[in-house]
Amino acid sequence: MDLIAMATGFLLILIGLFGALTNRNILRMIVAFAVANTGVNLVLVSVGYMTGRTAPILDSAVPVAEATARVIDPVPQALVLTAIVIGVGVTALMLAYAYRLFKTRGTLDISRYTDLKW
């Protein structure tokens, strides 16, 4: 199952990168980046998965004494939690800049922005 999730995550990264590189509309590029972001999170969580173990929450089903033998690696999960929150921050920032660009130029087509092109 972790292999299925990992393959899906890698495919999502590739699809997102393809969309970000081929689309010309800035909003579509940001949507593609969001898809790639989901793929990265999926890969990271699937690395921590171990077959036959449960979530890293201790309760009556997973007593404290058996924790090491029963729970999944919690470190990648904590990492991905951070990554998701930062990801939405990055997306919000990109959207704000896209809106600002649209307001100054009246277009969202990336090929019209040639100021920094050489």
Binding site: F10, T82, A92, Y99
Partner: protein, 233 residues
């Protein structure tokens, strides 16, 4: 055409790297050293049932402080980028159609429940899945409902700023208290650990996560309010 060819070539290369990673991937059979330490020591040392929460709030509390700071910076930059210049004429008051009975009544009915659920999620972060970030997002979604039902109402940026600053100061203050009274910055043992598995347990973790939740909720709300106030091109 040549550009698309280059893109496909690049993606094929990256795909080959990913395939190599996957073919050589061997899942761990047992927890590695760090994870085993967390799994063994979380319950006796910190009294938290949710190991992920224990890592985020206590073991890696400094990273969470950095994360919240990044979110704050993002919210501030979104506000800065989207700010109307003061020279702009006053926003044109379009007459929007009224939001409708269903939305208004639904908002009145659901908003307290949503806020209550958000508070529940971030106070129970040490026992169940969830915590400050999820609870903050739920509170921000309540704010979103208010934005949808009263689109022309101006929300108090001041209130959001006050909640955000007080929560941030309290977060750092509790962290410094940890240096003075317990083992280090953001140590949760400044309060008694209590009975394992109860709401008032795990020392300061519920309190820290409550402040994180308020701060994150205020930051997301500020982003949403700023984006929604850019009406009228």
């Amino acid at each position: 055409m040549i550009k698309r060819f280059a893109v496909i070539l690049l993606l094929l290369g990256i795909g080959a790297i990913f395939t190599g990673l996957m073919v050589n991937y061997v899942p761990d059979k047992a927890l590695n050293v760090t994870a085993r330490y967390y799994a063994e020591q979380t319950a006796p040392d910190l009294g938290a049932a949710n190991i992920v929460t224990a890592i985020i709030v206590t073991y890696r509390g400094l990273d969470t402080l950095g994360e919240v700071t990044v979110l704050f910076l993002t919210a501030a930059i979104v506000g800065l980028v989207l700010a109307r210049g003061s020279s702009d004429e006053a926003p044109a008051r379009r007459d929007l159609p009224p939001p409708g009975e269903l939305l208004l009544t639904g908002t009145r009915l659901l908003l307290p429940l949503i806020l209550l659920f958000g508070a529940y999620v971030f106070t129970h972060g040490h026992l169940t899945p969830g915590g400050g970030f999820q609870g903050g997002a739920i509170i921000a979604s309540g704010m979103l409902l208010m934005l949808l039902s009263h689109p022309l109402r101006r929300f108090g940026h001041r209130l959001i700023a006050i909640v955000e600053s007080i929560a941030g100061l309290a977060f750092v203050g509790i962290g410094v208290l940890g240096i003075a009274l317990a083992g280090g910055f953001l140590d949760n043992r400044i309060l008694p650990l209590g009975t394992f598995g109860e709401l008032f347990s795990a020392g300061a973790i519920p309190i820290i996560y409550t402040f994180v939740g308020l701060k994150v909720g205020a930051e997301f709300s500020s982003m949403l309010v700023n984006l929604s106030e850019t009406e009228d091109l």
